[in-house]
């Protein structure tokens, strides 16, 4: 199953590639760029369904598509199966085994090269499962699969192809940094939610959230640490120039978040002071203009 939304650039190749494994079903979220037609022409069965969120959409596909086989592989439009992966899957599924789901490792290809370090690899995803044995957790973001049976890991990899230019990549970082810094400002100005230490260590999820929301943003030299983490601790340097640039762009991203946060906080304070000054002035002497405006 290939979930899609406006993937005309990829879909023909993806469908042809997915046929290595069997019948291909494209679950389209009402694309406007002709993805459906291209997918059909490439030999896929296309079903359209309005998108709500990632997990709901994929669960709908898992339940409703007219699958004929016993196993489902979920492949994104910018991913590819390698012949080695196909061979391994066919061999594993042929032998009798209680395994109901397999994790597949994803190899990133970007800026003309593969990325095997820097914390971006390995990247395990449960993508191959027995029909009925696995579903996506009902979450709106960071969806992941839960499998009822035993699971295993496959050796061979699939490919994750990012065809964006450096400019598009940076643009995305700028947008995310803008949203992220908004969150930080809200956290700072709203009720600061520093969770109780007692509770933190009982719950791994909450502990991680605490690290991400309360500790990480307050850490000095974040861009630098991010770079050190990716390039040195996670061996990014082994990827050559690609590893260097990925780490550096990520440090840039961290830097933009901090700076936007600082700038927004500064502007907010200036704005609050200005409003305060206006209110004070009005209390002292309400101007006739104000009265007229209020009257209309």
């Amino acid at each position: 199953m290939i979930p899609t939304l406006n993937e005309a650039g990829h879909i023909s190749e993806t469908v042809a590639n997915a046929m290595l494994l069997g019948n291909v079903y494209v679950l389209d979220s009402l694309s406007k760029d002709g993805t459906q037609g291209l997918a059909r022409a490439a030999g896929a069965t296309v079903v359209e369904h309005k998108f709500e969120n990632y997990s709901a959409q994929k669960n709908w596909g898992i339940d409703k598509l007219p699958f004929t086989g016993d196993w489902i592989f979920i492949l994104d439009a910018d991913e590819r199966i390698t012949p080695a992966l196909r061979d391994e899957i066919l061999a594993r599924l042929a032998e009798p085994s209680p395994i109901a789901g397999y994790f597949v490792n994803r190899l990133l290809i970007i800026f003309g090269q593969t990325v095997r370090h820097g914390g971006l690899y390995p990247s395990w995803n449960l993508r191959l499962f027995k029909r009925g044995a696995a579903r996506y957790e009902a979450r709106t973001v960071h969806e992941h699969m839960v499998c009822t049976g035993p699971t295993d890991y496959l050796h061979a990899e699939m490919l994750h192809i990012r065809r964006e230019t450096v400019s598009q990549y940076i643009l995305k970082h700028i947008r995310y940094a803008d949203l992220e810094s908004d969150e930080w400002v809200k956290l700072k100005l709203g009720s600061s939610q520093v969770a109780e230490a007692k509770l933190l260590f009982k719950d791994v999820l909450r502990y991680r959230q605490w690290l991400r929301r309360d500790v990480w943003p307050r850490l000095p030299l974040r861009p630098f640490w991010r770079f050190v983490y990716m390039y040195i601790l996670r061996l990014g340097f082994m990827d050559g120039r690609g590893g260097w640039h990925m780490a550096r762009l990520m440090a840039s991203y961290e830097y933009m978040i901090s700076l936007m946060y600082r700038d927004k906080l500064h502007n907010e304070m200036v704005r609050r002071r200005a409003i305060h000054a206006v209110r004070l002035a009005q209390r002292v002497s309400p101007s006739p203009g104000d009265a007229v405006r209020r009257g209309t």
Partner: protein
């Protein structure tokens, strides 16, 4: 106020606050400024063009009043260059911002015209041009850093394209770097920079150390890092264009999807 077709509440707010609002669709900076000189019926001969993200200071107003005199007849100059203070995070970037960064903003309507040049404009005056001592304030980042980064992502696209064009057809002469004409010199230096590696580092050293950005405190540091990031983006995009990274990605992924590597 001269508006070139704002779609937000700009015009409404300006009206409300008592400004006279004029409209002219934007063609270029030079053309827009000339239109203002020709079509807006001003009572006075001396005009000051203030951008929306700039502010007068009382000291500047006083100096202007003193220079041109009560009826605007005292000064024989055509125009004045005015220093501008770049403000970032509430602080004046005296060194990193390249102060005084003179702009010709105060002029006599009959003695000055604007000519388009590059993505800005130049001035054409009939008489002498003097300098004011008092600066106005320039809030370069008033639309937020998001805007600044988006703009510089775009500029670095253009810069890298230009770098590739220059490298494909080098026509600059090394001697021009020492030319007496500042425009020729700047252009030669810029073209030369397209051959240099590590431009982000050089730019940072130039701004933070040579021009004294460190004297501007943390705002100065951050501004230098921002400019340096922009240079890094440019550098990265030059590499991307040279190495045809997109083609490489496609070739590599097609090959890996076909055979085992």
């Amino acid at each position: 106020m001269l508006d070139s077709g704002s779609t937000d509440r700009t015009v409404e707010i300006a009206h409300e606050m008592g400004a006279t609002v004029h409209h002219n669709p934007f063609v270029s900076f030079g053309q827009q400024r000339n239109w203002a000189i020709d079509h807006i019926a001003c009572r006075h001969q001396w005009h000051f063009h203030l951008d929306a993200d700039e502010r007068f200071t009382p000291a500047l107003l006083k100096e202007i009043a003193h220079e041109i005199g009560p009826n605007g007849l005292r000064s024989q100059n055509s125009a004045y260059l005015v220093p501008s203070k770049m403000i970032f995070l509430g602080k004046w970037l005296r060194y990193a911002g390249g102060y005084p960064a003179y702009q010709m903003r105060l002029f006599h309507r009959e003695r000055c015209r604007f000519i388009d040049f590059g993505h800005g404009q130049r001035e054409d005056t009939t008489g002498p041009v003097a300098r004011l001592r008092q600066p106005y304030e320039h809030y370069n980042f008033s639309k937020g850093l998001y805007d600044w980064f988006i703009k510089h992502n775009r500029y670095s696209d253009q810069e890298s394209a230009q770098a590739i064009a220059v490298r494909a057809e080098p026509k600059f002469k090394i001697g021009e770097v020492w030319s007496n004409d500042p425009i020729v010199r700047r252009r030669a230096l810029k073209e030369m920079s397209f051959y240099v590696r590590g431009r982000s580092l050089w730019r940072f050293v130039d701004m933070y150390i040579r021009r004294g950005g460190w004297l501007d405190g943390s705002a100065g540091f951050h501004y230098c890092v921002m400019i340096s990031s922009y240079e890094y983006w440019t550098e990265l995009k030059i590499r991307e264009r040279e190495g045809n990274w997109l083609t490489q990605t496609n070739l590599l992924s097609e090959r890996m999807a076909r055979e085992n590597i």
